[in-house]
Amino acid sequence: MGNAKVILGAYVPGSSWLHQLDPRVKLFSCFWYVVIVFLANNWLGYLWLFVVLGMLIALSRLPLKLYWRGIKPLFWIILFTVAIQLLFSSGGHVYWQWGWLAITSGGFYQSAIILARFILIITISTVLTATTPTLQLAAAMEAFMNPLRYLHVPVNQIAVMLMIVLRFIPTIMDETTKVMNAQRSRGVNFDEGSLIERAKRLEPLLIPLFVGSFKRAEELATAMEARGYDPDAPRTKYRVLHWHHNDTTAMVSLAVATLILLVTRFLPV
């Protein structure tokens, strides 16, 4: 169960204003925010984006440490990308040069932008996943897929599939630990030897998991059929999302924030 947390994101239970928002609003706003990050074209724009993010973090009532934990795993990738930008971008004043590597003022500028974008996008995603349970996120995704129905995309089936995936992740994780222990008990050492040797040792782990999952899928399909599931028939819904006053407020705020950002584009800074 401990492992499942890592995969399912970092929902932190709470009752903040953000926790209570409709997941559709949160998913859309997160997506929208990522888009407008690319609209900022000067330091004032980025400053405004950081201010908005800061307000959201405050509204989530979750400790800052948690957001830092969201960035930490990606630290090296960020550093690498920033370094590349720093060394390979050209333009502006040259501070240092070695062959075709150069640190220029243009490079500084570019890498600062990249760094800012990384932090903004990762942290806004953490705001979303930390305040929204996975089940609600799935419901929001389903809602957004709904129009695809008219393109004959099987939205209902995809929704059930999504639910089953979420349901079985912890089960499969448990199963993995169990099979791994059973094979370790039979003398397998999963974490020693060359890469090829290690890959070979995955066979006694992957085959049982594969076979087990197939058997599970077959039994589950029978059970679902017995419970009246018909992929082609209409179904009613237990989890229905309700739009509240706060959700309207959130959408209006999002529009205002976007407008302010657009204004910063034309300010002479």
Partner: protein, 291 residues
């Protein structure tokens, strides 16, 4: 010298985090070589954690344990753990879910080969193990996935026995088997016990504990509630009640007779045969038997 010794063992999941939970608390126990211990307790009582440590799958957070010559504590390195596993076999719950090789024989040879024995030796050990589980020889070259559920279970157990463990751990080996297959399997475990293998069997079936084990270890919240012979344990209704254990049907039946004012002997009937013997004695003495 005892075969197995736990000394003040603690185990914490997610140690060093605020979420740390103690699954085993200050646990000490000695088991004799060649003994048969039944381990009972509810889910989360720490019995599986205890067995995982015995097989080197988990390392105690504090304290130490010894199996034969090998001693394990929180600093144990991989080599020592591997050495421990050589002497300990672990039949997990629903062990058929660990089968993977193309043929039954290859699957059973997998363990011995990992232990470093020669190909020929591994094959011999595998064939002997398969025979001891009364599996027909014509399945050896078939895929394990073509077999019936009961046969798969036996192939998986053969895969553990082929490693010739001196200590054998079994976790609910009869779960999901039909009564006949269960009895066959338990008889085999008992044979291994008689040949000198030290057996530890996790079970919810008190009939099994009463019939086969020489000691019963009762676990609750990471600690041992009791470690005694089946005779002692099942003669203590208060202790059983506190531990949430339903006694074997024969003991229950004898208790019912006591409630109706009929006490047979001081000896608790651990099996239905013992109960029938006691009843037959009484009925014949009473002169009322008419058969």
């Amino acid at each position: 010298m005892s075969a197995i010794e736990f000394l003040n063992v603690n185990y914490a999941y997610q140690a060093d985090t605020p979420m740390a939970t103690l699954a085993v608390k200050d646990f000490s126990l000695k088991l004799e070589s060649g003994s048969f211990t039944a381990i009972v307790g509810h889910t989360g009582s720490g019995k599986s954690t205890l067995m995982a440590m015995l097989d080197g799958l988990l390392v105690p957070t504090h304290g130490s344990l010894r199996v034969g010559e090998v001693t394990i504590d929180s600093h144990a390195d991989k080599k020592t753990l591997a050495k421990l596993r050589k002497g300990v076999g672990y039949v997990f719950q629903f062990p058929e879910s660990q089968l993977f090789a193309e043929t039954v024989l290859k699957d059973v040879m997998f363990g011995p080969l990992n232990m470093g024995v020669s190909l020929e030796q591994a094959k011999e050990q595998a064939l002997t193990a398969l025979r001891s589980l009364k599996l027909p020889e014509d399945i050896n070259d078939r895929s394990p996935f073509e077999l019936s559920g009961g046969q798969m279970r036996r192939v998986a157990i053969a895969g553990v026995l082929a490693m010739h463990p001196r200590v054998l751990i079994l976790d609910e080996p009869t779960a999901g088997l039909d009564p006949q297959a269960s009895e066959d399997l338990l008889n085999l475990v008992n044979q291994l016990h008689q040949k000198g293998t030290t057996i530890l069997m996790i079970t919810h079936q008190m009939e099994q504990a009463a019939r086969y084990a020489d000691h019963v270890l009762v676990m609750k919240q990471g600690q041992r509630t009791a470690f005694m012979t089946p005779h002692e344990l099942f003669g203590k209704p208060d202790l059983l009640k506190e531990a949430g254990i339903l006694p074997p049907a024969s003991v229950d039946f004898a208790n019912q007779l006591v409630v109706h004012g009929l006490k047979l002997t001081d000896e608790v009937p651990l099996t239905i045969e013992q109960l029938a013997d006691q009843l037959a004695d009484h009925l014949k003495q009473g002169g009322r038997a008419n058969g």
